[in-house]
Amino acid sequence: MSSRRRVKERYSNLNYLIHPRSVALIGASSNRLKIGGIMWSYLQSFPGRKYPVNIKQETIDGVKAYGRVSDIPEDVDLAVIAVPARSVPSVIDDCIRKSVKAVIVISAGFGETGEEGRKLEEEIKNRIANTNMVLLGPNTLGVYVPSESLDTMFVLREKSRRPPDGPIAYISQSGASASGFMDMAEYHQYGISAFVGLGNKLDVNENDMLEFFSKDDKTKVLCMHIESFADGRRLLELCRKITPYKPVVILKAGRTETGARAAMLHTGSMAKPSQAMDGALKQVGVIRANDLLELFDYSRILAYQKPIFGPNIVVVTSGGGYGVIAADYIEDRNVGGELRMAELSHDSKKRLREKLPSFASVNNPVDLTGNVTDEMFDHVFRIVNEDENTDGILAFLLLQTPYTTDRLVEIAWWWFKNGKKPMVPCIIGGLHSEEVIRMLESRGMPVFPDIRRAVLSLRVLYERGKYLLKIGKNRSGAG
């Protein structure tokens, strides 16, 4: 078989990892306290054909169980393996005999544990080397695809909720942080097109999944948490192709590692691997996150808001204190990057003065004071949107002032969606604020409960806009 054909088949087999027509669970159990039992019960939401495989039991929950995958009479697209590590190689053999398209090895106890585990990995690698079967893992939570109701994760749903369907593909090399991330995503109604846990990356790696989701119409943003690069050069090539159309956000953990370097050279001693990585990823338009919260914030603001095409930010607030802190962060290169506080036009200031109380500030930050009304917010949003000196808006929606009502939230929502200038909203408070934030987020409007996070997200929207301009994508074609 030509290698080109193999690449193509491999790619289509990745499709069965995310969109299988049938799934076999090897190690299925009727005991809900066991991993194989949890997984079998969660597999029940999958509408396609599903088969329990268990070498000891005749039936699982009243469904006929098969001793081996090869005993299943129909085709199997995806086999999910949750048996002890030492049994995995023989199960893989059976999957190859059955011409299974894709395999997920949930089981741990491989390369991550030491020499013996590494040997097992080698055995598996040798077995799949001459096939087109794709293998995800081992040591992974597997996949979660809301639109397919496919969920291979063994973390309990009541403790680790699953996010809704949406525009973000989430690829992670870390299982534990992925379940926390997704639980948080569910709370904020952050929608994902799919989650893929890479595990030990024996076969399928981040580059395969990046390429796959770059061609997936549903996916608008690629969000990735990795600890090692399978092939850095390939990653750059892929990102260079993808980022003009879809934002890619990467959290690369483990920045202190040192590689073999020509340490006698200045370039060698200073341009550490992490330095080289910073430059390389920036070059191909990747947005970098330093931790999970940044990964979360950046991927969702990029999914739900337009890029910002200039550095000039106007801050709209009814609390002077928030405005001052925000201005400090915007002008701080370490937080705001190249953002700066916009200088409003003479005309805007005049129009603002007509609508606002005499003691309000019509400079930037625009401070509407505690006497603010819903209408004032609406006027101000209109004026700053029409001002040619502004590129983006940071809006503090203070819910605590006496003359504002629930309508303020509707006004902010309207401008978030329809405003010419991208807006990032910030709401600070306790229980009431939390409820409002959740309501807005369920409509697809990310709200930041923290000033610094809001400014960082504005910066990311500007970095995205600047990159699009740099590569010659015009404003209308972007986003």
């Binding site: 050069r233 370097r261 020509a262 200045h266 370039t267 341009a271 330095q275 430059g279 390389a280 070059q283």
Partner: protein
């Protein structure tokens, strides 16, 4: 043209078994790539000194050997030599100190700003290029920016804008330097990285001295893979 000079570098490495390439082989190669270096004369034997007559004094005398990659640390750099007779005396001293090692005599270059430009092979991303504020405080400030080779002019300008010391290239306190010449130099290094990257582990130009007219590589080190 360049091929010839790089071949000498490869030959040197295979003859000596050394991966560290002495400066008297690196400089001609850089020059052949259109990179500005000071005018120089290579002194293998005393009679070569007569060639130094064409140089404009003051000059600098350097030992050029794979054994002394950090020349300054071993007293292998003598600055500000003002005449031929002083040069002859200095060469004699260097001969006693460093035996038969090759010596390099170069014209002194004056400038207002020291930069660094280098290539480095990265395990993950391949050949990368670095620029930064150079000179003796390079490792103190670590004010650098990197990219993967090749870089475009826009990339280089973006790299400069990432430096904290970018003001030095942009007229800070009326310091006038030829920023465009430095940008061109970085692009030429990028081209070297592209063409010869499979042989090079690292290449350091520090300092690259900038003045109103040019960007000159005053000191260069190369390490092969």
């Amino acid at each position: 043209m360049s091929e010839k000079f790089f071949k000498r570098i490869l030959n040197y490495a295979s003859e000596t078994g050394s991966k560290n390439i002495p400066e008297h082989l690196v400089k001609p190669f850089l020059k052949s790539q259109g990179i500005t270096v000071p005018r120089f004369v290579v002194v293998e034997k005393i009679s070569d000194l007569s060639k130094a007559g064409v140089l404009r004094f003051p000059v600098v005398l350097k030992v050029s050997s794979n054994r002394f990659i950090h020349k300054t640390d071993v007293g292998g750099v003598l600055l500000n030599i003002r005449s031929m007779s002083e040069l002859k005396r200095s060469v004699k001293v260097f001969r006693e100190k460093f035996g038969g090692e090759t010596l390099l005599v170069e014209e002194m270059v004056s400038g207002n700003v020291d930069m660094i430009c280098g290539l480095i092979h990265d395990d993950y991303f391949g050949m990368c290029i670095m620029i930064g504020i150079g000179g003796i405080y390079t490792e103190i400030y670590k004010d650098i920016s990197t990219r993967v080779v090749p870089v475009s002019r826009v990339d280089v300008l973006e790299m400069i804008s990432e430096l904290k010391g970018r003001g030095l290239l942009e007229g800070f306190r009326n310091i006038r330097v030829n920023k465009a010449a430095f940008v061109n130099l970085v692009l030429r290094f990028s081209a070297i990285g592209e063409e010869y990257g499979k042989h090079i582990l690292g290449l350091d130009a520090n300092p690259v001295v900038l003045n109103q007219t040019s960007a000159t590589v005053v000191d260069a080190k190369m390490v092969l893979k």
